[in-house]
């Protein structure tokens, strides 16, 4: 597994020939309960659903592409619910990285993250979202994190730009 595309809407499969595409509308997953039981249980989640596989793929991928609606400078609910389940990929103990305490990611494989955020997003919300990406990737070995914003009807055009980004 090298590349992973996680999307909350349909995207053209032919744009990402070398990636596994996970459409959140086509998988089933429960909402994280936030009890942090997985951190106490060696990263084993209480729920047995599609997210067990997706969280493993997240660790193994070197290029991750998110296609998500952005609301209030944050991920949309469905996408956020998916991300919350990825807490299984964190170590329970804290480490100081760049002067801040954080949980380190279990996988320290070098990764690149591209986020295509769509929706009516103000300048302030864009800034907040970019800061959010910076913050959530702390503790993982992300070599680059990029966010691109577009309107919902422009998403196919935006994806055309990234088509082939997952090629060697």
């Amino acid at each position: 597994m090298r590349n992973l595309v996680i999307t909350d809407r349909d995207v053209s499969g032919n744009l990402f020939n070398n990636s596994v595409i996970v459409n959140l509308n086509n998988i089933t997953y429960s909402t994280c309960t936030g009890a942090l039981e997985c951190l106490k249980n060696n990263g084993i989640c209480y729920f047995k659903d599609d997210m067990n596989l997706v969280s493993r793929w997240m660790n193994e991928s070197q290029l991750i592409i998110y296609v998500t609606q952005v609301k209030y400078g944050c991920f949309d609910v469905k996408f956020k619910q998916m991300l919350e389940r990825l807490v299984v990929n964190l170590e329970p103990y804290y480490t100081v990285v760049e002067g801040e305490t954080c949980h380190l990611g279990v996988s320290q494989l070098n990764k690149k993250l591209i986020v295509i955020g769509y929706g009516e997003v103000s300048e302030q919300e864009k800034q907040v979202f970019e800061q959010l990406l910076e913050e959530t990737t702390l503790g993982y070995a992300y070599t680059s994190v990029h966010a691109y914003f577009c309107q919902e009807d422009e998403i196919e055009d935006a994806l055309q730009t990234f088509g082939g980004v997952d090629h060697d």
Partner: protein, 196 residues
């Protein structure tokens, strides 16, 4: 005398991490407010939101941001604002730095801006998993008291509190996780032996 609503928007089982803070806040608010009601995200009826003068959004940060349960409430309330209560926030995170709650605050501000709500400020609590088991709990209580005073006076507020030192945080957190992991292993072993 004002009507105050506290919404605990944490994920289902993360309520336990903010409950001690909410209980203290209620104690400081109750004698001076007309009513103080607390609701959790799962059973929150958005129609009641408009019956209050002040709303305090409380939650335990989830992946450095507002939890999905709180975002769901934001979406449910979207475009329904005929009454505009003042919005306060009590945000807790498990890391040492209360600044880790800043992003959540910004998301709340973005929501308030879209919905034309008056955002009045927040109390941010770091080291939330263990702080109430350390001497720093008195510091937290004082911060919550100041926060409550600001709410009752309808003033803007920006408060932060955490454990006394980072070194103490690292030590306490290590002890906490060691204990919890041990407890979980013991529980798993017992479960397996019952199965056999």
């Amino acid at each position: 005398m004002t009507k105050i609503l506290i919404i605990d928007g944490s994920l289902k089982h993360a309520h336990q991490f903010v409950e001690p803070f909410i209980q203290r806040l209620e104690v400081y608010l109750s004698p001076y407010a007309e009513c103080v009601d607390t609701r959790v995200a799962s059973s929150f009826d958005e129609r009641t939101f408009f019956e209050y003068d002040q709303v305090i959004l409380t939650f335990f940060n989830s992946l450095d941001c507002v939890p999905s349960s709180m975002l769901e409430i934001f979406q449910r309330l979207e475009g329904q604002m005929d009454h505009h209560p003042e919005i306060y926030a009590l945000i807790a995170c498990d890391e040492y730095e209360p600044e880790k709650c800043d992003l959540s605050e910004k998301v709340i501000q973005c929501w308030c801006k879209r919905e034309n709500l008056e955002y009045q400020g927040a109390l941010k609590i770091g080291s939330a998993l263990f702080i109430m088991n350390t001497p720093a709990k008195f510091v937290v209580s004082n911060s919550i008291k100041s926060f409550a005073k600001n709410i009752l006076k309808q003033e803007t507020v920006n408060l932060k509190t955490t454990m006394l030192t980072e070194r103490q945080f690292m030590k306490t957190s290590r002890h906490y996780w060691d204990k919890e992991i041990k407890k979980k292993k013991k529980h798993n072993r017992r479960k397996q032996s019952i199965k056999k």
